[in-house]
């Protein structure tokens, strides 16, 4: 097969000493940038872009892609060990990674994250290699109505889960949607919900600001409140034997989440409107929905760590696809990569695969190598990350606080966001006291700003006729499935009520 020989050439190219060195350095740097709260692949790639002028373009993009990859692995580290999302793509990893760590199973969570990332990355690479042109046309067939239908499905997975308190879940989603609507309206260009006329609200509420506030600061307050300061530090041990048994357990309990994350993440990743963050959140929702033990989610489910981690790696490969085949960035990070390519004299777009074969296949080959390198380097560092957890909470808590502040500031370099973040932390703490689930709000603030403009664009297309979501061949089935999922719990509840009213009679 021609593709395989091209891929083989690409791999050989990426194993050349210079390129291999770029991969190893890039993955390691990415791992640590990803692990730093607030700094994600976007910052890493942006900061290191200038460095790449020292090497040829092929090696430069390999370096940047390796950072991207490493950061996806690294994001899980602080999500699990500190409970602060290391990057927006790793927010969903805190949902179950942090509870696992609190139970003293941090090593299991970290091993699961590493393995899921590896599998997700590998599946995505294979899909990319074999079906790139086909998948590009799939991405193009997703217009506004299709993207909106997909967002509806994502919300449905969070509402239709059952088990949770549905009115509170809906409230949480609405809260997230309102916060997501702050700033400028894309359709009319007018500012809205600029609370108290603070200019800081004009740029909208940064997703990371909310996530770090809720999970970093809110979680810390919660821990202090729950334990009244008497925190018994878990002393996780780390041995080779322990890691081997963790690997087995991760494979056994997390394979389902990994598979869901790998495929769903990749698919969401190739849509330019979406990207890795929605991909990982959606995968978490779907993994919970199809799980036989949905009650475990949020309390330390292995699947709950595996799904978002597989998804964010898979999506990061996926978002390279529209960049390379269409010249359109699938994520903020690929937007910067794209900028790099223009500077190196490459024209991204449909001609790239034909005109720059060596460059494209060298890059794809490097994905495979980077993935293996990232897995090994990550596993090697796990004992170091675990060691951090052995610090007493009295030392860890101020550290989390400082890292949260730094992380909140890093994204926009605006003091306003820090106050906002502290506010979100307090708000989250009280909501949690009243048993409101917070994950749906986080999901809504990510998906709302994608769903709203696509909804309005669709209705403009159809002159206000909502049937556009049902009559289009791709949007139709997705919308119907989403609606069934949304109303499933309501139907179940009605049935239960009817049964109850029958019994006493």
């Amino acid at each position: 097969m021609e593709v395989l020989s091209l891929l083989g050439d690409g791999m050989i190219l990426s194993l050349q000493p210079l390129n291999l060195m770029m991969i190893l350095i890039g993955v390691t740097v990415g791992l640590f940038i990803g692990a730093m709260p607030g700094l994600g692949s976007v910052n890493g790639v942006a900061i290191l872009l200038p460095v790449t002028f020292l090497v040829p373009p092929g090696s430069a993009i390999i370096f940047l892609a390796a950072i991207y990859y490493g950061a996806m692995y690294g994001g899980a580290v602080s999500s699990i060990t500190l409970g602060i999302p290391g990057a927006s793509t790793a927010v969903a990893t805190t949902f179950d990674g942090r509870p696992l760590a609190k139970k003293g199973r941090a090593s299991l969570a970290l091993v699961t994250a590493a393995l899921a990332s590896f599998v997700g990355g590998t599946i995505a690479n294979v899909l990319f290699t074999l079906f790139a042109p086909l998948l590009a046309s799939v991405a193009l067939s997703f217009g506004p109505p299709e993207v909106f239908a997909l967002m509806l499905l994502a919300f449905a997975t969070f509402v239709g889960l059952g088990g949770d308190d549905i009115p509170k879940t809906v409230f949480s989603i609405c809260l997230g949607l309102v916060l997501g609507a702050v700033g400028f309206d894309q359709i009319s260009g007018a500012p809205r919900l600029v609370l108290f006329d603070y200019n800081g609200f004009l740029q909208g509420i940064g997703f990371l600001v909310l996530a770090i506030g809720v999970y970093g600061i809110g979680e810390m307050l919660w821990t202090i409140d729950q334990t009244r300061g008497d925190v018994t530090a878990t002393t996780p041990k780390m041995t080779v034997k322990g890691m081997a048994s963790d690997t087995k357990e991760a494979a056994k309990k997390g394979w389902k989440g990994t598979m869901i994350g790998s495929f769903l993440g990749f698919f969401v990743g190739i849509l330019p409107a979406a990207g890795a963050t929605p991909g990982s959140l959606m995968s978490y929702g779907v993994a919970k929905m199809v799980s036989r033990k949905p009650d475990e989610f949020g309390k330390g489910s292995v699947d709950g760590v595996a799904a978002p981690e597989a998804a964010n790696n898979s999506a990061s490969t996926g978002s390279m696809l529209p960049m390379l085949t269409l010249g359109i960035p699938g994520s903020p990070t690929t937007a910067i990569l794209l900028g790099g390519m223009v500077i190196w004299g490459l024209v991204p777009g449909p001609r790239l695969f034909v005109d720059e074969q060596e460059f494209v296949w060298g890059l794809i080959g490097s994905f495979y190598i980077s993935n293996v390198a990232a897995l090994l380097i990550n596993l090697a560092f796990i004992p170091v990350f675990i060691w951090m957890l052995r610090m007493p909470f009295t030392i860890l808590a101020p550290m989390i606080f400082v890292l949260s502040i730094v992380g909140g500031f890093a994204a926009t370099r605006d003091m306003f966001d820090i106050w906002l973040m502290v506010g979100f932390g307090l708000g989250a703490f009280f909501l949690r006291k009243f048993d409101y689930p917070l994950a749906p709000a986080v999901l809504a603030i990510v998906l709302g700003p994608i769903a709203e403009p696509t909804l309005r664009q669709s209705l403009l297309l159809s002159s206000g006729d909502p049937s556009i979501f049902f009559t289009r061949p791709v949007a139709g089935p997705i919308t119907i499935v989403a609606l069934i999922l949304i109303f499933l719990p309501a139907i179940k509840m009605l049935r239960r009520m009817r049964n109850k009213s029958k019994k006493p009679a």
Binding site: L49, Q186, I187, A190, A273, P322, I343, G349, P350, Q457
Partner: protein, 323 residues
């Protein structure tokens, strides 16, 4: 010579001095921290591409002692960026990459309280013409066919763009007025997203800068029908202009860099020198050619006059739009 640690340090120092551009030595003012390089558009569009290209040239040739840090603030047709820059706490380290929303957004949203004449002129890097594109599968190959198709569809012809009052919508509005067209206009958050949805035929036509459509044009997916430039464009010699069709209308997007209001004269001089160097670089001149931009170099005073003229022009255009 015996190599000691001290003499090695001296050597390193000397070679460092030797490679520092002479121009930098001659100057009084130098940035003391990273420069906030604000872009009044989202990632991936024309303005963003240009900003990142400029940043790269500056890095590659080591033109600044502190880095230019790109900062996308595209919200509200650039209103977010205008507010951010006009309220910048450190105007000497805040510069803005502009497009025509620099003129239109303050006109359309007077409540923002932005007076663009308070901004500091830095450099006019070029002007970007607009072209009307359709997908090759539409079968339309000439502007006349396009006009009759739009008229035939009677209000159902869908075009995408970057939003009401944005550059492309002004062009589309002029076209609609001149040929009595009824077009359904869908706003997107950037030129990149618009190009993608034309490639996927979610929309039927766009008015885009050549840079945003070039990849698809070269692959044969997009067909250019009409240029809104004064003369035919060298890269598209077969594409007629609207002027040839008998309408005295041309429209360009400015690709200019401006400084924050209240920037010191020394800092302004520094940035003007910096961007002159970038403008004259082989890389930028190559970019102008490959992306079909037209040069329109002017000094600081000429830029201010140009702003005043553009504000006047856009006031008329927007009034004609009913904005």
């Amino acid at each position: 010579m015996k190599l000691t640690k001290r003499s090695l340090l001296g050597l390193v120092g000397a070679s460092f001095l030797a490679t520092t551009p002479m121009q930098a030595l001659a100057q009084d003012w130098q940035p003391t921290k990273p420069i906030d390089f604000v872009i009044m558009a989202g990632a991936g569009g024309g303005a963003d591409q240009i900003a990142r290209f400029i940043q790269a040239v500056a890095e590659q040739q080591d033109l600044t002692n502190r880095p230019l840090v790109p900062n996308n603030k595209g919200g509200g047709s650039g209103a977010e960026a205008l507010i951010h820059v006009s309220t910048a706490s450190d105007p000497d380290h805040t510069i803005l990459v502009t497009l025509n929303s620099f003129f239109t957004t303050p006109l359309r949203q007077e409540n923002l309280g932005i007076d663009i004449q308070t901004f500091t002129p830095v450099a006019m890097m070029g002007v970007d013409p607009f072209v009307l594109w359709v997908h090759k599968d539409s079968g339309i190959t000439t502007f006349e066919e396009y006009i009759s198709k739009v008229q035939e569809m009677d209000g159902e012809y869908v075009m995408g763009g970057t939003g009401a009052g944005q550059e492309d919508s002004i062009v589309i509005a002029y076209l609609s007025g001149a040929y009595d067209l009824d077009i359904k206009y869908i706003p997107y958050d950037g030129g990149g997203a618009v190009a993608k949805d034309l490639a996927g035929q979610q929309i039927m036509a766009t008015v885009n800068n050549p840079a945003e459509a070039k990849g698809f044009y070269e692959a044969g997916d997009f067909v250019p029908l009409l240029a809104f430039s004064d003369e035919r464009m060298p890269a598209y010699p077969d594409v007629p202009t609207l002027k040839e069709k008998g309408h005295d209308f041309s429209y360009y997007n400015q690709r200019a860099v401006v400084g924050a209001p209240g920037m010191s004269d020394e800092a302004a001089a520094y940035y003007q020198d910096l961007f002159t160097t970038i403008y004259e670089s082989e890389e930028w001149q190559g970019y102008l050619t490959s992306e079909s931009l037209s040069p329109l170099w002017m000094n600081a005073d000429e830029q201010r006059d140009y702003w005043a003229l553009q504000v006047e022009n856009h006031m008329e255009l927007l009034a004609a739009l009913g904005e």
